[in-house]
């Protein structure tokens, strides 16, 4: 049963990691998009530069969520204790 327990705990940990790990990047992305919209509304001629920078920034922020996803996958598929 220890193996089963480890599996159960691993799945729980992965789910927790992804769910909580998604909160921070979600808030950050919301703020980033809001700020970008504000800036574009204020300076429509800079929309090109702003949207390019926004996409790069979103990708950077998204990487945080990806990190948790990687951890979750590691826990699921490359668990050193399983």
């Amino acid at each position: 049963m220890t193996g089963n327990l480890v599996h159960i705990v691993s799945i729980l940990a992965a789910a927790l990691a992804v769910s909580f790990g998604a909160i921070g990047p979600a808030l950050a992305e919301g703020r980033a998009v809001a700020a970008a919209m504000d800036a574009i509304a204020r300076q429509p001629e800079a929309a090109g530069t702003l949207s390019r920078t926004l996409f790069v920034g979103l990708a950077m922020i998204e990487t945080m969520a990806i990190y948790t996803l990687v951890i979750a996958l590691l826990v699921l598929f490359a668990n050193p204790f399983a």
Binding site: F55, V56, A59, M60, I66, L69, V70
Partner: protein, 232 residues
């Protein structure tokens, strides 16, 4: 559902196991080489459509390098440009059915990040000399030496994991959705993957430029203003 983190060798050449990413990379190399040779075979002063595209790519690349490093882009153009083109083509190779992008496996990303790391050190030493390059670790004071060394390693790892996580998660999610829903459902996700792949290729190249630019020291004409964070 297979393990997305492990690789099975397709065949062996002597003692060397050849895996799928290597084969796809070879195909990409062949394709890019063929394209380059064909496209640059007939260059004219008055460019055709293909030549205009090539020149647009190169000019944009130069502009990005110059914007980021504030230096003449000539010495860095081949490395940065190749990294960008390779990552882009590798990310988009998932468009071909049955092919997994090589960047979705950590070995390819690790290889790219290692090359960037080596290039950082190499350009730094060639520009500042060994002593000068080592002296940059003691800035702004000697207290920062361990932190700077750790930064070198962690940013390389973050480079690896960023690209790997993005591409692997894309492949993984598409696999899950495909196994759950059916044939045409993952198409929007694949479109999102294309965007992610392009953005990640750009980010990888820009970060490599930033790292190399930081290693070769301040630009000659003005103090450097870092464009991107070097730590994630």
């Amino acid at each position: 559902m297979g393990n997305p983190l492990s690789l099975d060798p397709l065949f062996n050449i002597g003692p060397v196991p050849i895996t799928a990413p290597v084969v796809v990379t070879w195909a990409i190399i062949a394709g890019l080489a063929l394209f380059s040779i064909l496209a640059t075979r007939r260059l004219r002063l008055l460019p055709g459509r293909t030549q205009t595209l090539l020149e647009l790519i190169v000019t944009t690349l130069d502009g990005q390098i110059r914007d980021t490093m504030d230096r003449d882009p000539a010495p860095y153009r081949p490395l940065i440009g190749t990294i960008f083109l390779f990552v882009l083509v590798a990310n988009w190779s998932s468009l071909i059915p049955g092919i997994e992008p090589p960047t979705a496996h950590i070995e390819t990303d690790a290889a790219l990040a290692l090359i960037v790391f080596a290039a950082t050190v190499g350009f730094g030493i060639s520009r500042l000399g060994l002593k000068g390059y080592l002296a940059t670790f003691a800035e702004p004071s000697w207290v920062m030496i361990p932190l700077n060394i750790v930064e070198q390693i962690t940013r390389t790892f973050s480079l690896i994991v960023r690209l790997f996580g993005n591409m692997m998660s894309g492949v993984f999610v598409i696999g899950i959705v495909l196994s759950l829903a059916g044939l045409f459902v993952p198409i929007p996700l694949m479109a999102l993957d294309l965007l992610t792949g392009a953005v990640q290729a750009y980010i990888f190249a820009i970060l490599a430029t930033v790292f190399i630019g930081a290693a070769v020291g301040d630009p000659p004409n003005r103090a450097k203003s870092p464009k991107e964070g070097t730590e994630q």
